[in-house]
Symmetry: C2
Subunit: 114 residues, 2 copies
């Protein structure tokens, strides 16, 4: 696999993460987990404007993107962040930015050569 294909694959994999984080409620949940540590659905709902069911749905979406995962403890369900995918997505964005900046540099050199 060429470096270019590898980059494309990375970006494609990151798409679901972007999609998951593109919603205000979900992004808030992620931010709260990040700073507040592992929490149950009820805890997360108490600091949210929406219903518990809505929170549950959002957590499922985040789990689908591999951004969070749950651990059952008695009658409650604790949700934890999964930093790996977030870092992958972060790296993908960084690669896109870098490649673009390099392309602009090459263009600049080309133009100035005249």
């Amino acid at each position: 696999m060429s470096p270019r294909d590898a980059a494309t694959a990375t970006v494609t994999q990151a798409r679901s993460v972007f999609s998951a984080l593109g919603d205000q409620t979900r992004l808030s949940l992620v931010a709260r987990l990040s700073s507040g540590g592992p929490q149950s659905i009820s805890q997360l709902t108490s600091r949210s404007r929406v219903t518990r069911q809505a929170v549950t749905k959002h957590l499922d979406v985040l789990a689908g993107a591999g951004v969070v995962h749950d651990i059952r403890r008695g009658r409650e369900r604790i949700w934890e962040l999964d930093s790996a995918r977030l870092q992958d997505a972060s790296r993908a964005l960084d690669q896109i930015s870098r490649r673009w900046d390099e392309a602009l540099d090459r263009l600049k050199i080309f133009v100035e050569r005249d």
Copy 2:
């Protein structure tokens, strides 16, 4: 503004970027601009599965998120990537990941203290 508020603001600002990149067609457009340099709507459409109008709409969404901007040249409209917002979003993800990992480290230390 506390560091925590600053982080929250950064994350909030990144939301529109995540939302914009959460779509397959738009992510493809961004990737193509990144590697192929500035391009017109027609050029972007020719390598796409969807209609020119669809491409235009997607570019507008990306522009709304500050990820791209256009330059008019004669009868055509050239689109360019804007790496700044992408880097902001990348940094936001990185911060979330880091804070989470640090929180887990603290928790680990706390547990092992017994």
